[in-house]
Symmetry: C2
Subunit: 196 residues, 2 copies
DNA sequence: GAGCAAACGGAACGTTGCTCCGTTAACGAT
DNA sequence: ATCGTTAACGGAGCAACGTTCCGTTTGCTC
């Protein structure tokens, strides 16, 4: 990451003022539209909300995945950073794991359609997929290893499949009041516990 | 339950020969296209495969859900009927439940994209949703009740949420060799076991 | 065979994702 | 302050798809 200075290199020419302004405007507009219409809202709707042309969206965020990542980056980072913190402050590693998974679930279920798009095999979304995996799987691995090391859970479950499973369970949580993913995730985590 | 007769009146005139022929042709074509391109394949592709116009598809199957139901009805019925049979022949109700869930998972993962569409909140798919629920939830309830009655599992889990959870876990199973829904479903079922 | 309703086919329309290019205006140089 | 460069903009245009609509064909009955 050297092409555009973000803080470190000082005097390098920054982007034009209107470009920087539009990027912020777009992020705000996208966040708002995502809340009301979900993360698969039409590009035109986001452009209209921001008061810019569609070319501007695609210039700043070439794929929808880039836009989604930009909108939720802060929250994903926060979730990732909460992992080690929980491990340090919780009574047992298994408790930390449970709480961390809850954070993740809370994040997903409050983002209309994000869970669904997260597992989409659509090629346009693989950078989104990759971002979530890169950022969260290591954290989950750490928690899982700690819990396995303390003998609380079986050790034959990988972080990747657990995360995918949890993500999948969160799909469609909105739009169906009869379905509460939290209960099922809880069941899944309970199933992790070592028999005996 | 053969074809739809108008009930009260005298024997309803059966459909025209070409209509009946086209319906069969369409079912075969749809089944073939579903295998290669998934259940969300373009309508035009199915029409082309069948050698008919698009109007013919929509006349026979007004929504995509109707077509999907028609294609998979036999297998869904077989799965539903396997429930009581398993309960009768298995060692324990919990074993029967596990085997039945396995049947369901096998069915779902072999149908490209069916699991994804099953939970879609898209209004066009709610009859599909309803069909699966009407047909399978009672069976699952029976198995669940039996296992709960024998004290093997906790009794605070409803068939509906379990089925939705299992269905969700099956989403995206194809197109990702690293993800094996069977393992996670197994974990979920394990989590059902009563803590003792 | 004639008449008619059922069934057909595909053109046409609306919605979306994405690209492409003529136009605008920001910014450093003068 | 003005000027020229070019980054950045906007939206028309195209392709793919779902869905409808209606003129045409065809099976069935008499």
């Amino acid at each position: 990451m050297n092409e555009s200075d973000e803080g470190a290199g000082h005097a390098a020419r920054s982007k034009r003022a209107d470009a920087r302004r539009n990027e912020k405007t777009l992020l705000d507009a996208a966040a708002a539209v995502f809340v009301t219409s979900g993360v698969e809202a039409p590009v035109r709707a986001i452009a209209a909300k921001a008061g810019v042309g569609m070319g501007t969206i695609y210039r700043h965020f070439p794929t929808r995945a880039d836009l989604i990542i930009a909108v939720y980056r802060h929250q994903v980072e926060a979730c990732a950073e909460a992992g080690p913190a929980l491990l340090a402050t919780s009574a047992t590693p298994h408790a930390a794991l449970g709480q961390w998974i809850n954070l993740f679930v809370d994040f997903l279920v409050t983002k209309h359609g994000l869970a669904a798009v997260l597992q989409s095999d659509n090629a346009g979304f693989d950078t989104l997929h990759a971002y979530f995996l890169d950022r969260l799987v290591p954290v989950c691995t750490q928690l899982l290893d700690a819990a396995a090391g303390s003998g609380e859970i079986r050790s034959d479950v990988e972080a990747y499949e657990l995360m995918r499973g949890v993500g999948n369970l969160c799909i469609g949580a909105d739009s169906d009041p009869r379905y509460d993913p939290r209960r099922l995730v809880e069941l899944l985590i309970a199933g992790l516990r070592r028999p005996h």
